[in-house]
């Protein structure tokens, strides 16, 4: 139940894109078509899980032990970037099909702020105190990102056909649509706690 609570919270209440406004760049950049948005969402989920599985032990067993907590950001960036590159090389060799579908997105998100945000938040948040919870939280955040991407690509396909005033065309109307989409998720705050218990 606790794991379900973590997932629901990170998908709906603390959605990284729509509530915390992290990872806006891919959210606006790659959400034009549904299949691209899905590909990006899956790739981000994958990288978030991977990054957490490495950065959590690094923080708990290396940085904290030697009192180097202040180096967190720069070390995480380095490690995540190297790891994603490494995984890309391995995928290319052993699973070319997966590399072909995820490959173009992986270099884009090596040090995406949503990925870095999840790993740092997993350390900062006091309710996430075990490795398992950190992984579940990352999964939830990834699904939340995917959810936001898919949702917004639907909104955007409608925007393509709309005829807004000239000043709003292009990015402005997209940002307004993103704001309204993010508003809709605020309805969930409080609901998750009520459903799954604190």
């Amino acid at each position: 139940m606790k794991f379900l609570m973590i997932i629901m919270t990170s998908v709906l209440v603390n959605n990284y894109v729509l509530s915390r406004f992290l990872g806006i760049c891919p959210f606006l950049g790659v959400s034009k078509k549904l299949n691209q948005a899905t590909g990006m969402g899956v790739a981000v989920t994958f990288v978030m899980l991977l990054a957490t599985s490495v950065t959590w032990p690094i923080q708990k067993f290396l940085l904290d032990r030697f009192g180097l907590g202040y180096l967190q950001t720069i070390v995480f960036i380095l490690v995540i970037a190297a790891l994603v590159q490494f995984v890309e090389i391995v995928l290319k060799k052993y699973i070319p099909a997966l590399h072909a579908s995820l490959g173009i997105y992986l270099p884009l998100i090596t040090t995406n702020c949503a990925v870095l945000g999840v790993t740092i938040n997993n350390i900062r948040d006091e309710t996430i105190n075990t490795f398992g919870k950190a992984m579940v939280n990352s999964l939830g955040c990834g699904i939340g990102f995917l959810f936001a991407m898919v949702l917004f690509s639907g909104v955007r396909s409608r925007l393509e056909d709309a005829d807004p005033p000239k000043a709003f065309r292009g990015l402005p109307i997209t940002l307004i649509a993103a704001a309204i989409t993010s508003l809709s998720l605020f309805g969930f705050s409080g609901v998750a706690t009520g459903l799954f218990g604190g």
């Binding site: 380095l78 190297a82 590159q85 090389i89």
Partner: protein, 296 residues
């Protein structure tokens, strides 16, 4: 103070070093050998990844050429003859002219022929009109005529006349952008050597098609019986031409009761007419292109 700076620098440097060593080892150990021929072939291709060759982008085509499963060097449409020549030289393949692709519209129902059931006054875009019961025409698959394809065409090769899109083949480069914009998927690319075309996409029964449009294919199978080379079959009340068997003899177009099988008038403008072109011109067109590879 100094030790703090030194520790930070050393730790970060060490982390960077470990990561880079890991990556170097991985790059060596998991190295995927790339065929030299493939690199050569890929260097010749323009890199537009348009897919006109039938492969998934330039990399896919280069791979197929290198492995020997593809022997035709003339499939790159945007690269045209120059790229075909380079590829043939680089890989030692037989050279043939690139057969240009042109866009064709599988609908011939203009304002006079296709009946409307409503007057559409919304946003002037096919995509928008298509959201409301598939457009104002009775025919569910016909040309909406609001010109999304014309707006998308980078070469200005498409014009809308009488509520129907027409393609100027002199300007068309076969890029295929229009094929993706049509909400009814009426436009597709075909080799620029074919001259007969079924200008209808309606698969409803003959009587229903008739009610919607006087130009539509009613599935009478006359063309199927008349065709001397057996290239036409009627599937789902719509005639379909198998271009690997078609000899451009025009028999189908002459016999079609609704006139929906049409012949290009060779003027360059893809406005098909039912008037057959002179036979002499036809043979000239055929013999001018002897190197044409088998069409799929």
């Amino acid at each position: 103070m100094l030790t703090a700076i030194l520790t930070a620098v050393l730790v970060v440097a060490a982390t960077g070093l470990i990561c880079s060593v890991l990556l170097v080892v991985a790059a060596k150990y998991f190295h995927v050998p790339v065929d030299e021929k493939e690199i050569k072939a890929r260097a010749c291709l323009p890199g537009a990844n348009c897919g006109a060759c039938g492969y998934t982008g330039c990399d896919g085509y280069a791979k197929a050429l290198a492995s020997g499963e593809e022997t035709r060097s003339n499939l790159c449409v945007p690269g045209a003859d120059a790229v075909a020549k380079q590829l043939s030289d680089a890989l030692g393949l037989a050279y043939a002219d690139v057969i240009e692709q042109v866009a064709t519209i599988h609908c011939g129902g203009d304002c006079a022929q296709a009946k409307r059931r409503a007057d559409y006054q919304g946003i002037s875009s096919c995509a928008a009109a298509n959201l409301i019961y598939g457009g104002a025409g009775i025919c569910p698959v016909g040309c909406i005529g609001l010109g999304d394809c014309a707006k998308a065409c980078p070469n200005g090769a498409i014009c809308i006349e009488n509520g129907l899109a027409h393609i100027d083949t002199r300007k068309c480069t076969g890029c295929g952008i229009c094929t993706k914009t049509c909400p009814h998927h009426l436009i597709d690319l075909m080799p620029d050597v074919e001259r007969v075309l079924v200008t209808c996409s309606n698969t409803d029964k003959g009587a229903d098609t008739r009610k919607a449009c006087t130009h539509g294919c009613i599935g009478c199978k006359k063309c199927e019986k008349n065709c001397p080379s057996g290239a036409i079959t009627v599937v789902d009340n719509l005639a379909r031409i198998d271009y690997s068997k078609c000899t451009n003899c025009d028999t189908c177009a002459k016999g079609c009761p609704t006139g929906c099988i049409m012949i290009s008038d060779f003027s360059g403008i893809h406005r098909y007419t039912v008037v057959p072109s002179a036979p002499a011109e036809k043979t000239a067109e055929k013999t001018a292109d002897p190197s044409e590879p088998a069409k799929v």
